[in-house]
């Protein structure tokens, strides 16, 4: 099943009205790979994730997932193909309990789907709070829930938008461990991250984005050795 999980984006342009925010972006994510998008605010990272999910529609270019061309496919169909959505605001439903938040999305791949027991084993806090309304969770707990949701669906690619934002170092470390666990199961992750130090502890490869363009693509070792120079170049 591993060969089904790769994402390919080719020559993607995106606009908000008249303003072009992505220019000729080409990236790919191989099965079981953790790839980050690094760039300052406004570089187009979130727009790229939203375009892949099908939420941002003002785009031109080619996208395919697991060999299936995405074209104008609706977001819910993309989710059913195995693209898992973890937005930067975590996207927890306030009117739904923790358990309902987990079970609301459909299971898209029975074999890859984590059972509730598995989820609770890896995220014990979600078990203790299963009947709490979504908003009564702390920021870290909300992030755990947001990441557990696509795992329960059985998504084969997670679009993770700034999971470490605003969280205590110990929680960020936990999230890092979860990402490694996800990866070890052959699930790929496309990670938007401002916390470059964190990104370099989990990622295999990095794409550097500036003003809507991919300006560099490099492996994690090179990224680590040139971090200071690269960040200066990006103005971060």
């Amino acid at each position: 099943m591993a060969e089904h999980t790769n994402l390919r984006v080719e020559g993607l342009d995106a606009w908000y009205g008249e303003a072009q925010v992505l220019r000729d972006v080409s990236i790919d994510v191989e099965p079981g790979e953790v790839v980050t998008l690094v760039g300052r605010n406004g570089a187009g990272k979130t727009t790229l994730l939203r375009s892949i999910m099908g939420l941002h529609r003002q785009t031109k270019g080619e996208m395919s997932f697991g060999g299936t061309a995405l074209g104008r496919t609706s977001p819910d169909k993309r989710a059913k193909l195995g693209i898992g959505w973890v937005p930067d605001d975590r996207g927890i439903y306030a009117t739904l309990s923790v358990l309902e938040n987990l079970t609301l999305p459909p299971v898209v791949d029975k074999d890859a789907s984590w059972s509730l027991d598995q989820i609770f084993e890896h995220f014990p806090v979600l078990h203790t709070r299963r009947d709490f309304p979504g908003t009564k969770l702390s920021g870290g707990e909300q992030q755990m829930l947001a990441m557990a949701r696509p795992l329960r669906m059985g998504s084969s690619l997670l679009l993770l938008d700034e999971p470490s934002e605003g969280l205590a170092p110990v929680i960020v470390q936990q999230i890092g461990e979860i990402i490694r666990e996800i990866k070890s199961r052959g699930v790929s992750v496309l990670l938007v991250e401002q916390n470059v130090k964190f990104a370099s502890t989990v990622a295999d490869r990095h794409y550097l984005l500036a003003q809507g363009r991919v300006v560099e693509s490099l492996g994690n070792e090179e990224f680590q050795s040139r971090t200071t120079e690269l960040l200066e170049y990006l103005g971060m």
């Binding site: 989710a79 996207g91 306030a94 739904l96 999305p105």
Partner: protein, 289 residues
């Protein structure tokens, strides 16, 4: 004391119409982002339909309470499929204007067919007359209307909180874009939700028919109060719509009893006070920036 209880019952009965109709408005707004201006006209159609069913076909109140919501559900589905759906992708203002235009058309068509004077309606057998409870004389019909609306609201509440369909509707009400990104085909629920919302407005109309004047214009004032109800309860809050519906009904009834000149004004004073203290309404969530 006796008259106070009578006014309270009257308020709860009227509040029941507001609560049911506002519930429909809130679900439609939540799932579709459509502010349905025609909700008052649908309420009027519910009342007119029950009067016509009685006069033309001899179908009484109990038949109407089942039939009319079904008819309005179908009418809602028709309108959603043929008109509302095509404007969903555009600015919400377009559907607001569309439903406003629909209101004018529906009201004038009803005027043309049935005139401007009220249509007659009779209280259903068994619900006419009064009931003396502990020395307080209460209208049987108002008692029924209050209890029935509370039960209906509870039923809808159970549907929304205890079933998977309800969970999906709540999720889509809260954030329909996010729900799509999580694999839920929100579009599939849009048509039945619109029909359901319209059916609730129609049900409120049936309930109102035995004790309100049934005219083509009865929805005009109703929709304005309904918007006040939704603002007081909190836009997009289902619980808020129900609670504010009963609250506004009570305020209106007490106003009519103790300060008749200010009865209508009081509702809007209440609305202004709520907006000042809690801009997002009694049960609304603060805007997340």
């Amino acid at each position: 004391m006796g008259s106070f209880i009578q006014y309270t019952l009257q308020g709860l009965a009227a509040g029941g119409f507001y609560a049911l109709a506002a519930l429909g408005l809130a679900v439609i707004f939540g799932v579709m982002g459509v502010v349905n201006f025609s909700h008052g006209a649908m309420y009027m159609l519910g009342a007119v339909a029950s009067a016509v069913l009685l006069k033309e076909l001899g179908v009484g109140f109990w038949g109407a309470i089942v039939l009319v919501p079904i008819l309005l559900f179908l009418f809602g589905v028709l309108i959603e499929r043929t008109l509302v759906r095509w404007l969903l992708a555009l600015d919400p203002l377009y559907n607001f204007l569309l439903t406003f235009g629909l209101t004018l058309i529906i009201v004038d068509l009803v005027k043309k067919k049935y005139g401007v004077s009220g249509l007659p309606y009779e209280l259903p057998a068994g619900l006419d007359g009064r009931l003396a409870i502990g020395g307080v004389s209460l209208s049987k019909y108002q008692l029924f209307a209050a209890v029935f609306s509370v039960l209906m609201c509870l039923l809808v509440w159970l549907l929304l909180t205890k079933t998977r369909i309800g969970m999906i509707v709540r999720a889509a009400t809260e954030d329909s874009e996010r729900s799509r990104a999580l694999g839920i085909n929100v579009g599939m629920w849009v048509t039945p939700v619109f029909g359901f919302g319209i059916a609730l407005a129609g049900l409120a109309g049936v309930l109102a028919s035995p004790f309100r004047a049934i005219t083509a214009d009865m929805g005009t004032n109703f929709i304005i109060i309904l918007f006040a109800v939704v603002v007081i309860g909190g836009l997009g809050s289902i619980l808020g719509a129900v609670m504010a519906g009963f609250l506004v009904g009570l305020v209106e009834a007490y106003g009519q009893a103790y300060a008749p000149a200010f009865a209508q004004v009081l509702i809007f004073v209440l609305m202004a006070a709520v907006i000042l203290i809690r801009p997002s309404g009694l049960f609304g969530r603060e805007e997340v920036s």
